[in-house]
Subunit: 240 residues, 2 copies
């Protein structure tokens, strides 16, 4: 049996906050737990925010804005390595990390204050590793950490949370070569368990509840995976 | 707190089996539980299987087979409404239901016997509704039912389980127009909760364990959604 519990009562987060201390005060971690943290919480602590007042929009940003604030589009362009699809003002972009998502992960909702945009962490795997180390120092527990964000999907409505950062977690479970009940090879049966865990955590975190951390217990996924492994390599990607 | 429990000890399934009775014997359902059933279990019960010996491959199937069994490709073509990408023998197709997935959902692993392919249910939403009705008749409980299958994703490695059938569950949670902590409109924040629930259930079901049913408890998602709502309408789809 797996359980998913929210960490309740966390305050609004600010740059430099000690999230490990805040979690440990509110939740008794056990070995093997997976701590799932919303991307926006990580980004706020890391100061990954931009004030619209400081942004000078380019011509490209103005063209993509389609009547909305061109400064927001400028920030999206700066966070993009490649534009995948555009329907102004909607932009689907590949980030420098290789993630394909709406607005290159730039978000206004849940921003710490008006006229501020929240960017993805510079290196979400490193963010996860730091939090894992800090949790180990404070508790002696070996836990996994995932940084989760809500991504849209091609062909399907709605977002699901996926892992954009990971530490201490096997992110892909490869069943290739193992055999099922009637003896067939399972070809290319690789399960993105980290994404499934992130999505499961979202079920208790919600968007409006101000619950940026959830603890998933009862999994057997300890390992040394990184969320970067979840990015499809260009040469295998049929959808570039 | 949400819990996810496997329904253990289910036998190999056959056409006409009474899955509701089997689940109820092994698990005490409560109102609001979501019963997640693996697609293959539903398909086997519904007799949605094809014997390779009965299949005559077309020229197109032979061309796509690239040295593998062309009869399997023939079945995939018959299950496809549209081919989305091909890299023989790999086929990504849109099914008649509108789902975009590898092999149009046709699968050999976990088949009931060698040389048999398992197809998606004809109408997975109807399959879910039937099971929900049968569970209500046997227990008096109001539960939700999801039929789950493992789908690949564009741009990301690995599969996650998503909902291809639903009954008694709100599949999309629309936060549009609600406001977050600092007063921003949340634009287009629609969460595909049914897909997140299906993925969460996969974490206890696995591929090799022979656990085709899991119970998710502690959600607040009762409603009358259908998995068909999770299919992106063509006119809004940037990836057609």
């Amino acid at each position: 049996v797996i359980s998913i519990a929210p960490v309740e009562g966390l305050p609004e987060l600010h740059p430099g906050d000690d999230l490990a201390a805040m979690v440990v005060e509110r939740f008794a971690l056990e070995d093997g737990d997976v701590v799932v943290v919303a991307q926006k919480a990580v980004s706020k602590i890391e100061g990954r925010v931009v004030r619209l007042a400081d942004v000078e929009p380019s011509e490209e940003a103005r063209a993509l804005a389609a009547g909305t604030d061109p400064r927001r589009l400028e920030v999206i362009l700066q966070e993009s390595a490649r534009l995948v699809r555009t329907r102004p003002p909607l932009v689907i972009a590949e980030t420098r990390h290789g993630f394909v998502c709406a607005s290159a992960g730039v978000d206004q909702s849940n921003a710490p204050e008006p006229d501020v945009l929240v960017l993805l962490p510079e290196d979400p795997d490193a963010s996860a590793a730091r939090l894992r180390d800090e949790l180990r120092e404070r508790t002696g527990r070996e836990v996994g950490v995932l940084v989760a964000d809500s991504f849209g999907r091609a062909w399907r409505q709605g977002t699901t949370d996926v892992a954009i950062g990971a530490a201490g977690v096997r992110v892909l479970l490869d069943l290739e070569g193992e055999r099922d009940r009637v003896g067939y090879e399972l070809h290319a049966t690789v399960i993105a368990v980290a994404d499934e865990i992130a999505g499961a955590a979202q079920l208790v975190m919600g968007k409006l509840d101000g619950v940026p951390v959830a603890i998933v217990r009862g999994l057997d996924v300890a390992g040394e995976g990184r969320a970067a492994e979840l990015v499809m390599p260009a040469e295998r990607d049929l959808f570039r």
